[in-house]
């Protein structure tokens, strides 16, 4: 099979206000085989500014994947999700909900708002790291992501 020769750095946006979870996710991704760059924002307003490349985020890349917590200050994760998925220029970016909530209502609501998938954060640290790696494996090794602005070599 013909794999793309160029190695592309995967840009991941983590929207998470819990510093412990941010640190764990960072560590899980740092040790991964896949080259990735993790961007972190800790509230919903910053997440939207980042994605829309507004204010201090003008030079930020369009992420390949968004990891989104539901409980966030200033603008909650449901609102962020709804805004991404109704924005013609952003809606194709896969959004993985990563939250402590196990409430069936949150799960259903998220899928109805077109979350690409919903994952309950495990309480156990090791499990959390494992889950972050699984997300990365699945979305970057198995799934074909939209290429966005980048063109195929030719």
């Amino acid at each position: 099979m013909n794999h793309e020769a160029k190695i592309k750095l995967a840009d991941i946006l983590l929207v998470e206000d819990n510093p412990g979870d941010v640190r764990l996710a960072r560590e899980a991704l740092k040790e991964s085989k896949l080259l990735n760059k993790l961007y972190e924002v800790d509230d919903g307003m910053k997440a939207m500014a980042f994605l829309r490349q507004e204010g201090g985020y003008a030079d930020m890349p369009r992420p390949d994947l968004v990891l989104l917590d539901l409980n966030l200050p200033r603008k909650n994760g449901r609102e962020v999700l709804a805004e991404i998925k109704t924005d013609e220029t952003l809606k194709r970016i896969p959004v993985v909900i990563l939250t402590v909530s196990r409430a069936e209502e949150d799960v259903l609501k998220s899928y109805n708002l077109h979350a690409n998938c919903y994952i309950s954060k495990p309480f156990d640290m090791e499990q959390f790291v494992k889950v972050v790696r699984s997300i990365e494996d699945f979305w970057f090794s198995i799934v074909r992501l939209p290429a966005g602005d980048t063109k195929d070599e030719g």
Binding site: P94, V107, Y111, Y118, S120, W139, I142, V143, R144, A147
Partner: protein
């Protein structure tokens, strides 16, 4: 639920799923119309269960996969069901189109059997063990 018109591919995917110890039932339909009828429980599918997950081929007879995807994701009663586009296509246009139509993910079906088994296993691992599906 597997929507696949190629009997060989359907058989292989089923085998791959079986290798991974089945804890669920796989329903196979082979064209886009059947897929929609199954989901809307119409005609012979009146008693069909609502699937937890859909693996959707893009090239289907009668109603193609893009249309099926669009119909699912615009239907208030169905749009929550995760749909994985699982197709031989590698075309960037198909990938973008699928995500714009709100496919939950796009996976290119490998032509090699071993690879196919590996991918089906990964889908199973991720969606059934890591992800929380709507009940």
């Amino acid at each position: 639920m597997l929507v696949e018109d190629n009997p060989g591919d359907a058989k292989l995917a089923l085998e791959a799923l079986k290798v991974g110890r089945l804890r669920y039932e796989v329903h196979v339909v082979e064209d886009g119309e059947q897929a929609i009828n199954f989901l809307r429980r119409e005609g012979e599918y009146a008693d069909a269960p609502r699937p937890d997950l859909i693996l959707l081929d893009f090239n289907l007879p009668k109603k193609n996969g893009r249309q099926v995807l669009a119909e699912i994701k615009e239907d208030e009663n169905l749009k929550y069901i995760p749909v994985m586009v699982f197709t031989v296509s590698k075309a960037e246009e198909d990938v973008l189109r699928a995500y714009d139509l709100r496919a939950n993910c796009f996976i290119t079906k490998p032509s090699e059997i071993e690879q196919l088994f590996k991918i089906v296993k990964s889908i199973e691992d991720f969606w059934l063990n890591i992800v929380k599906l709507p009940a």
